[in-house]
Amino acid sequence: MATVTLNPVAVGTSPQITQRGGIYQELRFSALVSGLTETDNAVLEEAIDAAAAAHSNLVPGGASTNYPGLFCDEISVRMNGTDTKSVIIDYTFRRKSASSVTYLGVGYHDNGAQFTWSGGTALTQHETPWDAYGNPIVVSHAWQGTELDQAAPTGTTSYISSPISVQLPLTTVTGRGFLTIAYPDLVSKAFTGYVNSDIWAGEPPGTWMCTSVTWEPSDTNTSPVTFEFSFTFEHNPQGFQPLVWFINPRTGTPPHNVVSGVGVRQIVWYPSRPFYPYFPV
């Protein structure tokens, strides 16, 4: 009867584990199977079967005992020197579809989901009609009678609202993770173009928008299929809902004393959804 020894010291093999970004990525170890009875290369298959019989996870797709999330992805068999009745099997456990993704999160499907995030912030040119305190940007001039082309009677004061061009920090974050789901397109439609209705990532409602969702199959052996999702969110400190202003048709600018909620209104156009329950960050 064949004997299976994991991580046999006698043949000089040692297990290896690779961790990246705090997540275990790859596990390698060997097994020595001795006492085989088949002849020629038939002992190779006999050894694989004997190891699987002794340890049920030593089969393609088998889950690692000590490292959750790693699955048997590669089995390589070689003879043990000149001994025709013993072989060494090298096992490689990897995260699902490890070769095709740069980040790997863990999908709990019905039990919730975990995502890993990347992102950055950059300044973007932006035109604003108000200052940092929410005041309309207004400049005025008192006519003195000395200007060559005086636009109003002497002694009066003219006011003009004047939007200015500023740099606005816009932040983009991308969350990646796996979902085992039958309707991936429903997920993309449920988020793309939506703004947060709750406080999310430390910012007020309406200031985050999901601008992109992509998905591609990661593991077609699960039922339903497991997809790797990528959600991209952009943060705009001024909010995404569009603004409409009353514009003086003669000057082409808003009146300086325009009233909030009447002469300048924020229109609700983009649908909203609470983000925190889906992405608890």
């Binding site: 709990y108 919730g112 929410g134 429903l186 173009g193 909203s272």
Partner: protein
């Protein structure tokens, strides 16, 4: 500036409210967060969530 003259971006929450919300969430255990996430993702995973068209009222 007074509230009457404020015309900047909508301020539907205050900094105190944001800080209180963050503190509440930091107090959640990983298990509580997972349950919250499961409740949210469940309808999507099961295909039960209706996506409202643009122009419809908010969800």
């Amino acid at each position: 500036m007074t509230e009457d003259t404020y015309i900047g971006p909508p301020r539907n929450v205050t900094a105190d409210e944001i800080n209180a919300t963050i503190a509440e969430r930091q107090a959640l255990t990983e298990e509580e967060k997972r349950e919250l996430s499961a409740d949210a993702w469940g309808p999507l995973v099961r295909g039960e969530l209706r996506v409202r068209p643009y122009g419809d009222s908010n969800t």
